[in-house]
Symmetry: C2
Subunit: 194 residues, 2 copies
């Protein structure tokens, strides 16, 4: 009975995985159904069977990413991680992207292309970006209260700076080398250490 759910959705999941990777590497306007079909060894009509339109696929990629982030955050609570460990885990998400074929944050990619993507994808992107910022804001507020982080101004403002730095540095790393991303993260840590 567990096999039923697993076997049934294989192609659909593979398409989502491929689309997610391509959005991170090439952007929404940088890949096509044909690219996905070629990668999976199927025909582009089969991709349309699972996702009626490219806009649907793009939106579902982001919605899945949001759910995954929520589960990730819940896991950190279950594991009773401290604020430092939580921030480190958050940085690690972006570090992994950088080390995995110079991918970028999907939210960052879609915000760059924001005026050239379908409305449904925009809405999903906005939701993801808000989730990320709210989580970061909570962590920063909690961490400063506990004396773990030091920064001026409001936690929400510092959260924008951190989110923007991570997204921007992943993109800068593409033209200037991955060490620029590492340098940015190291500098963020120094700043928060006060």
């Amino acid at each position: 009975m567990s096999a039923a759910t697993t076997v049934q959705r294989d192609t659909k999941r593979e398409i989502l995985d491929a689309a997610e990777a391509m959005i991170q590497e090439l952007g929404y306007n940088g890949f096509s159904y044909q690219h996905i079909a070629d990668l999976l060894g199927i025909k582009n009509a089969a991709v349309h069977y699972h996702f009626r339109s490219k806009a649907d696929l793009g939106a579902e990629v982001i919605e899945r990413y949001r759910r995954r982030f929520q589960r990730w955050a819940e896991q950190l609570e279950v594991q009773r991680k401290g604020v430092h460990a939580k921030l480190e885990a958050f940085f690690q998400i972006y570090y992994d992207l950088s080390n995995n074929g110079q991918r970028a944050c999907p939210a960052g990619m879609l915000q760059a292309e924001f005026n050239a993507i379908p409305e449904e994808v925009r809405e999903a992107t906005r939701g993801l970006m808000i989730d990320l910022q709210e989580w970061l804001t909570g962590l920063l507020a909690q961490g400063r209260e506990a004396g773990a982080f030091r920064f001026p101004g409001e936690p929400a403002d510092q959260a924008v700076v951190i989110a923007a730095t991570l997204q921007g540095a992943l993109q800068i790393a593409r033209s200037c080398g991955p060490e620029r991303f590492d340098a940015a993260v190291a500098q963020l840590k120094r700043q928060l250490a006060g």
Copy 2:
């Protein structure tokens, strides 16, 4: 004789202006020769007369942007601006983008699309990004020495954080509203004030 140079290149300049605006708003893969032709009221063949290929056009847009930035930096020196005024002027460049139809930094857009654009455009983008960072690094080193800025670590690392924040925040502002960009810049200033 001054008219000779002015009249001669009108269309070419208009194409560069349109392409620059479209790269900032839509990205390299978000506009076409047809879009430019429609905007200028000409035919797409006329655009090809001035720029043989889209890759040429993209690269020239960035090269012109680089030259403009260099002249901008030289002007600041001529005017003997202080480090605070220089940083403020730098922020103003991005502020203007944000207020002009939620445009983004051209370097940021092309770095997001980096794996989906022609090699010539990539090289120009890399050059622009290096120029921006070198200028910022010099300013930060000079400013800290003069006691105007406070930050930990190396000036080059702080420069990546600032450049990434500005690029990233312009993109975040598209989905979350322009006030997020303002908040990021305000936070950067607080950090540098120490």
